[in-house]
C-alpha cells in the first residue's frame, strides 16, 4: 500500500477515535503510531540486540537499549515524583516472575520478536509474526487466567523505588544499575568494539520520548501484553467458553469492566493498534525480505509465540511492560526480569539454531 492512502486511513481512524471514543485515546493512537514508526524505522528489536550481544559480542543494540532505559528513567522517574496521578509499572517479585521472564526470554528468540517486536514485525507484514500475534494474545489471556495460581508459589509485594526513596534517589539508583549493566556488557564483549550506531540511538531517543508521552497522557507506563490478553478474553468470553466471574484476575473490578467496554477505550489496546499502523506506514516504503519457513519452523515458531504470551503474563510484562516500563518507573521487578530473560535467551538461541531459524 502506498503511504498517502495509508496516511488518510490512519487520519480517518484518528478522527473517529476523537469524535466517538475520546480525545485522549485518539492522541494515544498517534503516540502508538510514533512507537510503531520508531520501532520499525530504526529496526529497534530488543530480541535482535540481545542475540547480537550473545552470539557476536556486538554491543550496539544493547547499548541503544541502555540509552533508551536511561533517558526514559530520567524523564519518567522525575514525572512520577511530581505527579501523584501517574502510576509505575509495579509487578510483584515472585516465583511466577522468575519462571515467566526465563520462558519469555527463551521463546522470544525462537519467535524472533518480543512483545513490541511481534507487533512491529506483524505491522511490517512479516508472515511468522502476523501468525504469532493471535496466539500471543491467546497465551496472554491464559496466562492472566492462571496468574493467581502461579502467585501462590511465593511472592513479595511490588517494590517501587520512588515510593521507597523519592524521585532523585530512585533515579540515581536506576542510573547506577544501568551503568553496572553497561560495565558487564563491556566485560563480555571485550575491547575494540563499536558501541554506538545511529539507527539504535535515534530509535532510543524517539522511544524514550514516546514512552514518556504515554505515561503523561495515559497516567500509566507503556504496556503491550495486557491489550493482547484483553482481546482474546473478549472473544473467548463472547463464545461462552469462559466465566470471568469465577476467575481471580478477570473478576477484579477494573478487568471485569474492561471486558464489557470497547477495546478502543483500553490504553494498551489503542497503542498496540497504533504500533501496527505505524509499522505498516513504514513498510509502505521499506523493503523487508523474509525467508520461507519449513512446516516444522512454522509449528515451532507459533508454539513459541503462544508460550511468549503466556509467560509474559507470569512475568508481569514483556520487554516493554516489565523491562522498559518497569525499570524506567522504578519497579524492582523490571531489574529481576532482565537477568532471567537473558538466561532464557541463552537457551533460546540454541533452540533457534537447532531449528535453523
Amino acid at each position: 500500500m502506498k503511504r498517502l492512502p495509508l496516511s488518510v486511513a490512519l487520519l480517518v481512524f484518528f478522527v473517529y477515535l476523537a469524535l466517538s471514543v475520546s480525545i485522549r485515546q485518539a492522541i494515544l493512537f498517534l503516540v502508538g503510531i510514533g512507537m510503531g514508526a520508531a520501532l520499525a524505522g530504526a529496526r529497534f528489536g530488543f530480541t535482535t540486540g540481545w542475540r547480537q550481544l550473545i552470539e557476536q559480542r556486538d554491543p550496539r543494540g544493547v547499548a541503544g537499549q541502555l540509552v533508551l532505559l536511561a533517558l526514559a528513567s530520567m524523564l519518567c522517574l522525575t514525572l512520577l515524583a511530581q505527579f501523584s496521578e501517574l502510576t509505575a509499572a509495579l509487578g510483584p517479585p515472585s516465583i511466577s516472575l522468575l519462571i515467566g521472564a526465563f520462558v519469555f526470554g527463551l521463546t522470544m528468540q525462537i519467535a524472533d520478536g518480543c512483545g513490541s517486536g511481534t507487533l512491529y514485525k506483524a505491522g511490517l507484514g512479516i508472515p511468522l509474526n502476523m501468525g504469532i500475534l493471535p496466539l500471543f494474545a491467546l497465551g496472554s489471556f491464559l496466562g492472566s487466567v492462571h496468574v493467581a495460581d502461579w502467585l501462590k508459589l511465593g511472592q513479595l509485594e511490588p517494590i517501587g523505588l520512588v515510593t521507597l526513596f523519592g524521585g532523585a534517589k530512585a533515579l540515581l539508583i536506576t542510573l547506577a544499575g544501568l551503568l553496572v549493566a553497561g560495565l558487564l556488557v563491556r566485560a563480555w564483549v571485550g575491547p575494540g568494539r563499536t558501541w554506538w550506531d545511529r539507527k539504535w540511538l535515534v530509535g532510543a531517543v524517539a522511544l524514550a520520548v514516546l514512552a514518556t508521552l504515554n505515561l503523561v497522557i495515559a497516567g500509566q507506563p507503556w504496556g503491550v501484553v495486557y491489550g493482547f490478553g484483553l482481546w482474546a478474553a473478549k472473544v473467548v468470553n463472547a463464545a461462552g467458553l469462559f466465566d470471568p466471574t469465577a476467575n481471580a484476575f478477570w473478576s477484579q473490578a477494573g478487568n471485569a469492566q474492561r471486558l464489557t467496554e470497547s477495546v478502543l477505550l483500553d490504553i494498551t489496546s489503542i497503542t498496540n493498534v497504533g504500533i501496527l499502523g505505524g509499522a505498516l506506514w513504514i513498510s509502505a516504503k521499506a523493503t523487508t525480505s523474509t525467508q520461507s519457513l519449513t512446516t516444522q519452523q512454522w509449528i515451532v515458531g507459533l508454539a513459541a509465540g503462544f508460550l511468549m504470551g503466556y509467560s509474559s503474563r507470569l512475568a508481569f510484562g514483556c520487554n516493554i511492560g516489565a523491562m522498559l516500563s518497569g525499570i524506567s518507573t522504578g519497579s524492582v521487578h523490571g531489574w529481576i526480569w532482565v537477568p532471567l530473560a537473558l538466561m532464557g535467551t541463552a537457551i533460546g538461541l540454541k533452540v533457534r539454531r537447532h531449528y535453523q531459524f
Binding site: 466517538s20 475520546s22 480525545i23 485522549r24 492522541i27 505527579f83 496521578e85 501517574l86 502510576t87 509495579l90 509487578g91 510483584p92 506483524a122 507484514g125 508472515p127 502476523m130 501468525g131 500475534l133 511472592q155 503523561v216 497522557i217 495515559a218 497516567g219 500509566q220 507506563p221 504496556g223 503491550v224 501484553v225 495486557y226 491489550g227 490478553g229 484483553l230 482481546w231 473478549k234 472473544v235 484476575f249 477484579q252 477494573g254 478487568n255 474492561r258 467496554e261 470497547s262 477495546v263 478502543l264 477505550l265 483500553d266 490504553i267 494498551t268 493498534v273 505498516l280 523474509t290 520461507s292 519457513l293 519449513t294 512454522w298 509474559s312 510484562g317 516489565a322 516500563s325 521487578h333
Partner: protein, 57 residues
Amino acid sequence: MTKVSKPKLSVAFWTVLLLFLVWDTVVSAPIDLRNEPPLIAAGSGKASVGGHCAIAK
C-alpha cells in the same frame, strides 16, 4: 518449505483485525462520551485506572 503469500497474509491479518474491532464496537457497552477521561493524566487530579501487564490483579 511452506510458501506463504505475504500480501495475501497481510490482507487477511488486517481484515481480521478490523473485523475484530468492528465486532467489538458492536457488542460492547456504548461509549459514554460525557465520561471522557482527562486529555492529560498528569496534573488532572484523576488517578489512572487502566489495565497494565505489570499489575497482578
